[in-house]
């Protein structure tokens, strides 16, 4: 495109040319969005000029003009969302949440208006028990390939033989260390708490999330990440309260603190580990030798989703391997889908933070459903925070 053309809106004819070549796969989606200006003007195109979508667009049918997507912060590539809107005319309202509990509380209260949301493995059986999510009609998600997904990760989606969701990404919960500030090289949760109450006093962040924070304390004491044993939890509570004066903060939004170097260590999800290391090479992501968490996030549809067709179309779109790879390129978490992993650049496909060696993950546990809902854990966390 010559420079003078840049300022002019694209003509309908030219747009269709680009659209056809995009359909044929001769140009990339990013290029397509770039040259057509859809990246920014997608909603206008999608809704005000439906006649342009003579070809492929009809395959989507009438999906309405909006949907609500509830997910986690820094967890999607905006280009994907924009492209979906451009192709279907469905505008996506994104809600970012801080915890699974918060999502569960909202869904339990009812009337959320959500169409698609992103639960983590250990919540799914609870949602099913509370009759809050729909069984999925996999024929409406042809892009999802069960054979391409490691059953280790996709397993929790099936409850009582019925599939309730499809996987999004998986990852680990370990900790991040600023090696310029902490040179002792902590390897375990025990080291983590020792450094917190020793040389690193005043510079550690624990999550504002009972699952990971109590889990870390339990591992440091040699117990299971998922323990709901009252005695073990009491010990974990004592450790947490003892460490509290030495903490920089209790927050799940730990990137700002780590980036400003106010904090030197934090419990960390591996995608954030990648994002931090990309910008600050001195950051080391550690999978603790004494345990920790491994998890999968899924796409699911609430029982009362108001825009069901759009929800299915969206999930199907997000399961496209290319779209998954492009998503992962932004947020840093690994896809579960081998087709998407194959599309990732080598640097990501073999990244030790995203795809750790199997032996490192031996000690890790999937969070259990009762870990999330256990009243003692909830109360331990609340007492720790108000201590």
């Amino acid at each position: 495109m010559s420079k003078s053309d840049d300022n002019k809106p694209i003509t309908a004819k030219k747009f269709m040319q680009y659209f056809r070549s995009y359909e044929k796969g001769s140009i990339t989606r990013r290029h397509f969005l770039g040259v057509t200006g859809l990246g920014t003007a997608m909603t206008v195109m999608g809704t005000a000029m439906p006649s342009l979508w003579s070809g492929k667009a009809h395959a989507f049918g009438d999906l309405g003009d909006r949907m609500v997507f509830s997910t986690w912060p820094n967890y999607q590539n905006q280009v994907n969302l924009d492209e979906f809107s451009a192709m279907t005319g469905v505008n996506i309202q994104v809600n970012a949440f801080g915890s699974n509990e918060e999502m569960l509380a909202k869904l339990q209260a009812g009337g959320t208006g959500w169409d698609v949301f992103v639960p983590t493995n250990y919540t799914i059986s609870n949602y099913v028990a509370l009759d809050l999510i729909q069984e999925l009609d996999l024929s409406r998600i042809p892009n999802y390939d069960p054979d391409a997904n490691n059953p280790k990760f996709a397993g929790p989606a099936t409850v009582n033989g019925k599939v309730y969701c499809v996987p999004k990404n998986w990852g680990t919960t370990g900790f991040i260390v600023n090696t310029k500030k902490i040179k002792s090289g902590p390897k375990s949760w025990k080291d983590f708490f020792d450094v917190t109450m020793g040389k690193g006093s005043g510079h550690t962040i624990l999550h504002d999330y009972q699952l990971t924070t109590i889990g870390a304390a339990l591992c440091a004491l040699g117990y299971s990440f998922n323990s709901i044993d009252a005695k073990e939890l009491a010990e974990a509570e004592a450790l947490l309260i003892k460490s509290k004066p030495h903490l920089f903060a209790i927050t799940s939004d730990y990137q700002p603190g780590m980036r400003s170097t106010d904090a030197w260590m934090s419990i960390c999800w591996n995608g954030d580990g990648t994002q931090l290391k990309n910008d600050m090479p001195e950051m080391d992501y550690v999978i603790a030798t004494d345990g920790g968490e491994i998890w999968t996030d899924f796409y699911a549809i609430p029982k009362d989703a108001p825009h069901l067709d759009a929800a299915y179309a969206f999930i199907n779109y997000m399961q496209d391997p290319y779209v998954q790879a492009r998503d992962a390129a932004v947020h840093g978490y690994a896809p579960t889908d081998s087709r998407a992993i194959a599309l990732q650049p080598d640097s990501l496909g073999s990244d030790p933070i995203l795809h750790p060696a199997e032996n490192l993950m031996n000690g890790l546990e999937f969070g259990a459903a009762q870990t999330l809902t256990d009243p003692i854990r909830a109360e331990v966390m609340a007492r720790f925070k108000s201590a």
Binding site: E101, A105, T251, T261, D262, P375, A378, R383, S386, A387
Partner: protein, 287 residues
């Protein structure tokens, strides 16, 4: 004309209906729900299960620290806001020329056009290690920690609530009869004495209103302590957010709410009585 004629009464009833409905459905009804919940039990996966137990109220001491923090920092924040807001309101009401008054008033409101959440988030970076502490290092003051301390929370409170304090004080100073000030100085009072005997007493209604507005809102504050206190300065508002959204112990959350409402009722009525007593003999209305 008779006041209690029939159409008139109907009209009164019709005009009052929306307010009464709002009052019943938005205030009384939810309060009853909270009261009922507070005697219930936590359901197995969280939420509310019917029951009648005093267990929730017996558990209140476990949130003592949160109540204490709130009962210390809320009044302190109110007082600090007053100390910062009064000179500003005084300046705006009595010192600025008419030309600039409106513009400066608008500037006080401007921050309200952006969400408090966004503005408070910005303070994380201002108070964080690469913000003010780095500037202080340039002038040789090292090792200052601001973020995630009670001090940071107080700064956030003063910043966020300042306009709520400035405006009532501004209004009461604005309508102050300037001839009184002239009379006072003509009769030989020093400026300080004039301020203490004329200006300050006459602006008391504004101070009382501003303090009450700020104090009531502060008692329920959770955003500023969460962001600027780093989860370490824990208010009763944070305990409530936790109980309803994290641990989903709605009955206990309800019991904490009921307790907070009771504390507020007592505090505010004591405060009102104090204010009323201090202005006996003056017929200026409080609000």
């Amino acid at each position: 004309m008779k006041v209690d004629n029939k159409p008139g009464r109907w009209l009164t009833a019709a005009l009052l209906a929306p307010t009464s409905m709002w009052f019943v459905f938005m205030l009384i009804f939810p309060l009853i729900v909270i009261l009922v919940f507070s005697f219930g039990e936590r359901a197995a996966v969280g939420g509310y299960a019917a029951g009648f137990t005093l267990e929730q109220y017996a558990n209140l001491p476990s949130r003592l620290k949160a109540f204490q923090n709130t009962m210390v920092i809320a009044p302190a924040g109110t007082l600090l806001s007053l100390l910062v807001a009064y000179p500003l309101a005084y300046y705006l009401a009595l010192r600025v020329s008419r030309r600039f008054k409106l513009m400066l008033l608008v500037l006080v409101i401007v921050p309200f056009w952006t969400s408090l959440l966004v503005r408070t988030y910005a303070w994380i970076f201002i108070l964080g290690g690469r913000g003010i502490p780095t500037l202080l290092e340039f002038i040789g003051i090292e090792g200052v920690r601001l973020i995630n301390t009670p001090g940071a929370v107080l700064i956030g409170i003063v910043y966020g609530y300042l306009p709520l304090m400035v405006f009532p004080i501004f209004v009461s100073l604005e309508k102050l009869d300037k001839t009184l000030l002239e009379a006072s100085s003509d009769l030989g009072s020093s400026p300080f004495k004039t301020f203490m005997q004329i200006t300050l007493p006459l602006s008391m209604p504004g101070i009382a209103t501003g303090c009450m507005l700020v104090f009531i809102l502060l008692m329920g504050e959770f955003l500023i302590p969460a962001f600027l206190g780093g989860g370490k300065v824990f208010f009763i508002g944070n305990a409530l957010v936790d109980l309803f959204l994290q641990s989903r112990n709605w009955p206990f959350g309800a019991a904490v709410s009921v307790t907070l409402v009771v504390i507020m009722l007592i505090t505010v009525s004591l405060y009102m009585r104090m204010v009323m007593r201090s202005k006996t003999g003056r017929d200026e209305s409080l609000m």
